[in-house]
Amino acid sequence: MKSKPTTLAALDIVSIIVLGISTYLALVFAPTEAVMGQVQRVFYFHIGTAWVGLLGFILAAVTGVIYLVTKDLKWDRVEVAAVEVSLIFFFITIVLGSVWARPAWNTWWTWDPRLTTAAVTELIYVAYFMLRQGIEDPERRARFGAVYTLLGGISAPITFMVIRMFRTIHPVVIGNQSAEAQGGFSMTADMRVAFFFALFAFTVIFIDLFWRRIRLADLQEKVEQLRLKVTI
């Protein structure tokens, strides 16, 4: 069997290095925020993981549609990989957000639009795996999975719009500053460095994990085919 491709092995190492640099930038290099203090440093990883989480969910919806059109099971494997990796990253986002919210809002959790949408999105993709688990036929599993990621990908933004009708307290750091938002702040140049590097670092890590997960699924498929050949 083909051993691990060198590009992937190199990407593993690059991922570890950028994660290290990003940690340094977030924890040491970036200045301490005046009002919130040290806990604000969670923000860099919070945004980094949220970004790749969303990226994966969008990728999943797109590959789902591609699968429905092409009927090539390869796209189903890409879709599962995207959802699985994103589910973990998004969970990390929620946990990091809670860590920040405890001192900033004096509560671990509040039913704010972003928080609620994040929770609902997590539940949609957990449900996605439960749906897949209940179907044995791989072709039908792929079809239903694709349809469900499509439904989820459309419903999540609408959920966000609906809950926004109730008041929000989540800070908007990028883009327009809302005066109502609790815990908002404006970034200094050094903070921006740490911020953009965190985005870059998590994108690299995401690509690495995503690639590995696709490769794992491909290998699983190959094992399955070999097993069939042996039994025949």
């Binding site: 449900a127 749906l131 239903f144 609408i158 009708m165």
Partner: protein
């Protein structure tokens, strides 16, 4: 009952063979078959109604519906009741097709498959509306609230359309899985959250006599949700029933 459905399914086939595949005719035939079968047995409607009453009873004690609390939570209690009762209907309407192979009969009919979907949506919607028509006056009498306001009824209609449109699509998927009825609420609720929340918000607005401009936003979202999800379901239903 199953035999009846089978016969009705056969009737649908026969009816649509001579005439050139007429979309609306087929759609109404599927809906009529479901409604006729249900009117004869009344299994599903009675189950949904008794279940709704039990949910309201539980809410009564769980939330201790005192007059001042009642005013704020009425919309929420109603929509939670409709959503729970709705899953019963959605599950059953697809399960009876699957169990005796009636679904295959329906799929063999030479009509556009989305006609089957829309027929099913109509019958599910009618069941849900019947339950709502009974629950509303009952709730009104029990708690002394006037629920027969045209605005509120409109919201209930829009919300039920969105809920059954998504619910019918998802229940078609879940009846083909191993866990079946357990899976329907798990898959349906996170997708249906926007429609339920917008419906609660709009119903609350009408019940508390808010300005129409305040209710307009959730009302618009309800319409947007209905249109988007009916369109999506129309496009993907083929993939969900394909063998």
């Amino acid at each position: 009952m199953a035999v009846k459905t089978q016969k009705a399914a056969a009737a649908v086939q026969n009816a649509s063979v001579p005439a050139s595949p007429n979309f609306f005719k087929a759609m109404l035939a599927v809906a009529r078959k479901d409604l006729t079968a249900e009117l004869r047995s009344r299994e599903l409607l009675s189950a949904m109604l008794v279940f709704s009453m039990l949910v309201i009873l539980i809410f009564n004690f769980a939330l201790e519906l005192e007059p001042d609390i009642r005013r704020k939570v009425t919309a929420g209690v109603l929509w939670a009741t409709f959503a729970f009762a709705g899953t019963l209907g959605l599950n059953r309407s697809m399960a009876i097709e699957k169990d005796r192979g009636c679904m295959d009969g329906l799929l063999l009919a030479p009509v556009d498959r989305s006609a089957i979907y829309f027929g099913k949506v109509i019958s599910n919607l009618v069941f849900m509306l019947i339950v709502e028509i009974v629950v509303l006056p009952m709730y009104g009498v029990l708690y002394g609230v006037n629920l027969f306001q045209p605005g509120l009824l409109g919201v209930i209609l829009l919300g039920s359309i969105g809920y059954t449109a998504v619910g019918t699509l998802i229940s078609t998927m879940t009846v083909q899985t191993r866990m079946r009825d357990v899976l329907l609420p798990i898959l349906l609720f996170p997708i249906a959250i926007p429609v339920l929340l917008a419906a609660v918000k709009a119903s609350n607005g009408f019940l508390s006599g808010a300005e129409f401009s305040e209710i307009l936003a959730p009302l618009n979202l309800l319409i947007v949700y209905d249109v988007i999800f009916i369109a999506i379901a129309f496009m993907v239903f083929d993939f969900v029933v394909e063998e």
